[in-house]
């Protein structure tokens, strides 16, 4: 397994996009911290950018990478290697390099400017989001044979999680504002990893103005401590579930 991870990572490193992504994050994070007068404010601005960009780059880069390494996968499947090993190696290689890119790009400046529990939560959720969206990309690309369709699905998924979902939540909220749907809304917020990540970091920051509706309900229901733990657990499930489903599919896929 180690050998295959090595070749996947070597291949990704040869790709300039990950390098560009790292440098982009680095420039953004440093300039934000230098623009804002307090580091706390900087962290908040950075959070908003990270929540958009990290999922987008992770899901699209991973989907394209899987389609482009179709030959690599085909070559290795005919060799004495377990399919499970091959697929998990690709996952670890992708998730590892996306997380590393995020850590170098955004993590280092956060540690420099805002070394606190909040800052560390922010880095952890950023890494978790990278892993989650790599897993979702694996699922999207293993289920569709056509490259254009697969990349389209990846973009739509990102669009859904980062834009459409908020709209849907607001819509439900207004439609059913006469009913007590707080508990239901907690369930709904668990359906979106980006939303959860936002709630998790803002709970840690303790800026209740920024919490938004789901966040306020979350804090009210769980209290800060439990809220963070539950959100973290649900996020981990978001990484594990798509990965397991894609692995099952890949095990029976015809190449």
């Amino acid at each position: 397994m180690k050998k295959i991870i090595k070749y996947v990572i070597l291949d990704i490193l040869r790709n300039k996009i990950v390098m560009a992504y790292t440098i982009f994050l680095l420039i953004i994070s440093f300039s934000i911290f230098n623009l804002e007068d307090t580091a706390g404010k900087g962290l908040l601005s950075l959070l908003n950018i990270v929540l958009i960009i990290v999922p987008l780059v992770s899901i699209i880069f991973s989907t394209i990478y899987i389609y482009n390494s179709a030959e690599f996968i085909e070559l290795l499947v005919s060799q004495p290697i377990k399919r499970k090993t091959l697929w998990l190696s690709i996952f670890i290689g992708l998730a590892g390099s996306m997380s590393l890119a995020f850590f170098i790009g955004a993590g280092i400046s956060v540690l420099l400017f805002e070394f606190s529990a909040t800052g560390i939560t922010m880095i952890a959720t950023g890494i978790l989001l990278s892993i989650i969206f790599v897993a979702i990309a694996l699922l999207a690309s293993v289920r569709t044979r056509d490259k254009a369709k697969g990349i389209g699905i990846a973009i739509l998924l990102w669009f859904y999680f980062s834009v459409l979902f908020d709209g849907l939540v607001l819509f439900i909220l207004f439609q059913f504002s006469d009913y007590p749907i707080e508990k239901f809304m907690i369930g709904v917020s668990a359906l979106n990893p980006i939303d959860l990540a936002r709630v998790l970091i803002i709970l840690k920051m303790d800026v209740s103005v920024m919490l938004g509706y789901t966040g306020a309900v979350f804090q009210d229901f769980f209290g800060s401590q439990w809220g963070v733990i539950i959100a973290g657990l649900v996020l981990s499930a978001w990484a594990a579930l798509p990965l397991l489903l894609s692995l099952r599919k890949f095990n029976r896929k015809d190449l």
Binding site: D11, E71, Q79, D254
Partner: protein
């Protein structure tokens, strides 16, 4: 050595393999023949576990291959169209596979690499190679680890006459060592002096599987191409 029982496979509505059963044994050299789209490549991919059959099973040395993967270390596979990672050089592909497959007790067999003169091209990227050179790389990889079973899908297609001759001689040499060799080809004249058995597939089912000698006496023809032509006419 390899036994397939009632293997069926559908791609969508198209039935590609229909209840194929076959047994292949050591030191046989089997020609898998049939028209385009008769399921030869799919059958081979089933043997390699690249395509999972809908029903039926395949055993390799009496072990079902569905939960096994180690059996593939005994197989050298040369695909019909070799597809390799574009941004790797020949040397990198060879090194990677050696790194993954090599164990201490197997000697690598680099005859074909030397005879095809691949050494001069080692630092070329796979995406810049011509179709024929790609075939040479595929052939060299199939023979590289001295496997007990060789599965060659259209080995001579796209090779120049000189290289095709080198490959044929290599196949005959390996056959003499007692290996099981499975070849598909449309160039039947290539197969005459190497095969011992013939499998004929049509529309996804195995029409017959008999020794080359039997086929010769049944049809009264000496050449494989003539014999097969006669079988196809009689159908």
């Amino acid at each position: 050595m390899i036994i397939a029982s009632n293997v069926s496979k559908k791609f969508g509505k198209l039935k590609v393999l229909d209840n194929v059963s076959a047994a292949c044994n050591k030191s046989q050299c089997i020609a898998l023949i049939g028209p385009n789209g008769s399921g030869k490549t799919t059958f081979i991919k089933c043997l390699l576990g690249m395509v999972v059959p809908d029903s039926g099973f395949i055993t390799f040395n009496e072990k079902n291959i569905i939960h096994d993967w180690q059996y593939r270390s005994n197989i050298g596979y040369m695909p019909q169209i070799g597809r390799y990672p574009d941004n790797m050089t020949i040397a990198q592909v060879l090194d990677m596979l050696k790194d993954i497959r090599k164990s201490k007790d197997t000697q690598t067999d680099e005859d074909l690499i030397n005879e095809f003169n691949l050494a001069a091209l080692m630092n070329k990227r796979m995406s810049t190679l011509s179709g024929g050179t790609r075939q040479k790389v595929s052939a060299s990889l199939a023979f590289l680890f001295n496997p007990d079973v060789l599965i060659l899908d259209e080995p001579t297609a796209g090779l120049d006459p000189l290289s095709a001759e080198i490959l044929k001689e290599k196949i005959i040499a390996e056959k003499k060592k007692g290996k099981l060799i499975l070849i598909t080809s449309h160039v039947l004249s290539d197969l005459d002096d190497m095969i011992t058995e013939v499998m004929y597939m049509q529309d996804g089912s195995l029409r017959f599987h008999k020794s080359f000698e039997d086929l010769r006496s049944d049809t009264g023809e000496q050449k494989l191409s003539k014999a097969i032509a006669r079988v196809m006419k009689n159908n």
